[in-house]
Symmetry: C2
C-alpha cells in the first residue's frame, strides 16, 4: 500500500479518465473540466500508456470503455466521490464564524447585538473569543477580529474602520444628582475618576500628574463601576451609547477627545471566501460602526 501510494498514476490524468468515462466523450469531459478536448485526450492517452493497457476503445463516433476501463472507472469514481464528499463536508461544515474582540467590545458592542445578528443570520453559529490581543488568525482559527489598530495594514489583511476612539466622560445619574450638567472641570475633578488601562483622563484633562481614582484592567470593568455610581469614567462613545440612551449613564461634560488608534474590523484575505464569514463581516461593518 505504501508501495502503491508511490506508484499512483498521475492524479489529473485519473480525473480526466473519470470524466471521460462518465461522459464517454472527450469533448464533453473537456467541457466539464474546463479544458480543451485535446488536453483530455492527451491525459487519457498518457494514463493508458503508463498503465500499459487501453481503457477506452476509440470508436468512430465516441468512446467505449474496455473491460479494464469499466472496472477501473468504478473504483476511480468511488475515490473521487470520497474526495468530493470529504471536501464538501469540510466546506459545508456548520457555518461557525469565529470573531475575536477585546473584552470591552464583546461586552459593550457585540453581545448586546447578538440577538440581532442571530435574527439576521440564523444559520450562522458565531463563536466569540474575547482576548486582549490577537496573536494569529490561523493559529486561533479566527475569521474576523475587532482590534484597536491603525494603517497601514499588511497586504494579506483586510481592514475596515468601525469607529474611532471618541472619548466621553460618563457617570451614573445618581452620582451627579443635584449637579448641573455639563460639569465644569473644577466640579469634575472633585468626583471620583475611574481609570482603565488606557488612562485617557490625562489626555482629556491635560494633566501631567497621575490622577487619583480606582483603576481597572479592562474598560468594561471601569464602566461597570460607573454604572454602579462609583465614579466618572472616560470611555469610547461606542461603548456607552446604549447606556446613555437608556439613561443608565449620563454624559457629565460636553467635551470629547478623539484619539488614535481606531477600532478596525480585520480579517485575513483569503482566496476562497466563505459565505458565512462574508455575511458576518458585512453585518459587523454596518451594525457595529456608530450610526
Amino acid at each position: 500500500m505504501t508501495q502503491s501510494r508511490r506508484t499512483l498514476p498521475p492524479l489529473n490524468a485519473l480525473r480526466a479518465f473519470e470524466a471521460s468515462g462518465r461522459r464517454l466523450n472527450f469533448r464533453a469531459a473537456a467541457e466539464e473540466l474546463g479544458v480543451t478536448q485535446g488536453a483530455v485526450a492527451q491525459q487519457v492517452r498518457a494514463l493508458e500508456d503508463q498503465l500499459g493497457l487501453r481503457l477506452f476503445l476509440r470508436l468512430s463516433r465516441g468512446l467505449a470503455l474496455t473491460a479494464y476501463g469499466t472496472s477501473y472507472l468504478a473504483d476511480v469514481s468511488r475515490a473521487f466521490d470520497t474526495l468530493a464528499e470529504a471536501t464538501g463536508r469540510l466546506l459545508d461544515r456548520p457555518e461557525t464564524v469565529t470573531i475575536s474582540v477585546t473584552p470591552t467590545v464583546a461586552t459593550k458592542v457585540l453581545i448586546p447585538r447578538l440577538a440581532e445578528l442571530y435574527a439576521a443570520l440564523p444559520d450562522i453559529d458565531l463563536r466569540t473569543v474575547a482576548t486582549e490581543a490577537l496573536s494569529d488568525f490561523d493559529r486561533d482559527q479566527v475569521d474576523i477580529a475587532v482590534r484597536l489598530t491603525r494603517p497601514p495594514f499588511p497586504a494579506n489583511l483586510q481592514a475596515q474602520l468601525l469607529f474611532r476612539q471618541e472619548l466621553v466622560a460618563v457617570a451614573s445619574p445618581h452620582l451627579v444628582k443635584g449637579l448641573t450638567l455639563p460639569l465644569t472641570g473644577e466640579e469634575l475633578r472633585k468626583l471620583p475618576l475611574l481609570h482603565d488601562s488606557h488612562d485617557h483622563w490625562r489626555v482629556l484633562l491635560q494633566s501631567r500628574e497621575k490622577l487619583p481614582g480606582a483603576t481597572f484592567n479592562h474598560t468594561t470593568l471601569a464602566l461597570d463601576a460607573a454604572l454602579a455610581g462609583q465614579g466618572v469614567v472616560l470611555a469610547c462613545r461606542a461603548f456607552v451609547t446604549a447606556d446613555l440612551e437608556a439613561g443608565r449613564l449620563v454624559r457629565v461634560t460636553e467635551e470629547t477627545a478623539t484619539i488614535g488608534p481606531d477600532y478596525f474590523l480585520v480579517r485575513k484575505r483569503s482566496s476562497s471566501p466563505r459565505k458565512a464569514v462574508d455575511a458576518v463581516w458585512d453585518w459587523c461593518a454596518t451594525r457595529l460602526s456608530l450610526p
Copy 2:
C-alpha cells in the same frame, strides 16, 4: 456531487497533504513524494488557502493536524487507498498475455510448444488469437503478434525476425512410397499438388500457368491434406519441421526457395513494459525461431 466534482481541490495538493498528514513532517513527506520540502509546504499552503482553513498547526518542531485536518485526512487517505488498490488490481491482474498469430503459425508453431511455454512461464496465462490479419494492437488488446511483414517498421513498433519463408515441398511418406527421393520435376508434376492462398508452387516450379490441384484458404489446411496423403504441399520449413522429424512428412525435393516477406515477432513499444509480456516476447524470440 457533480457540482463538487468540479470544485475538487487540486489533486496533487491533496496528495501532498495526505503524505504530510501521515508523516506529520513536510520533509519526510517530501522525501516520500520525491520532491523538496518547500514544494510540499507550498502545496499544502495552497490547499489550506483554497479551502480557507488550516489543516495543520505549525509547531516549532514538526506539524500537528487541526481538527479539520484530522477528519479530512481520514477521508482523503481513504480515497487514495481506493485509487491505489484499484490501480494495483489493474496492474497485478492475472498476467494474461495475448498473442496474435496466423492460423498456420498457431497450429504448426505455437500450439505444439505451448506446453513448453507453460513449463517455462507457469504464471502466465497466454491467450492465443489466430487471425489472418492483425488490425490494431490496441483495439484487439493484443500484446504480441507474429506476422508476415518486412522492414521498415513504424517507430512505435518493435519487430524481430523469427524465420524466413523457406519453402520446402513435402508430402506424406505414403504418397511417395515406391518413388526415389528426391523426385525429379517431372515426377513431382505427376503428383497432386496442394495449394494454399499464397500459391507458391508457381514460384518454385517457375510455372506461368495455373497449376492444378486442391486449394485451401489456410496453409494449415493444405498441410493437413498433405499429412493425409492427399498430395504435395509447398510450405514454410518452420511449419513442417516437427512433422518431418517425426516422419509424418518427407521432403520430396531438395530445392528450397526463400521468398519474402518474413515472419516477424511484433509488438507495440510501450513506455511501461509489462514483465509478463517481456517474458513471452523473449520466449517467442528464442523458441519460435528456427534453430
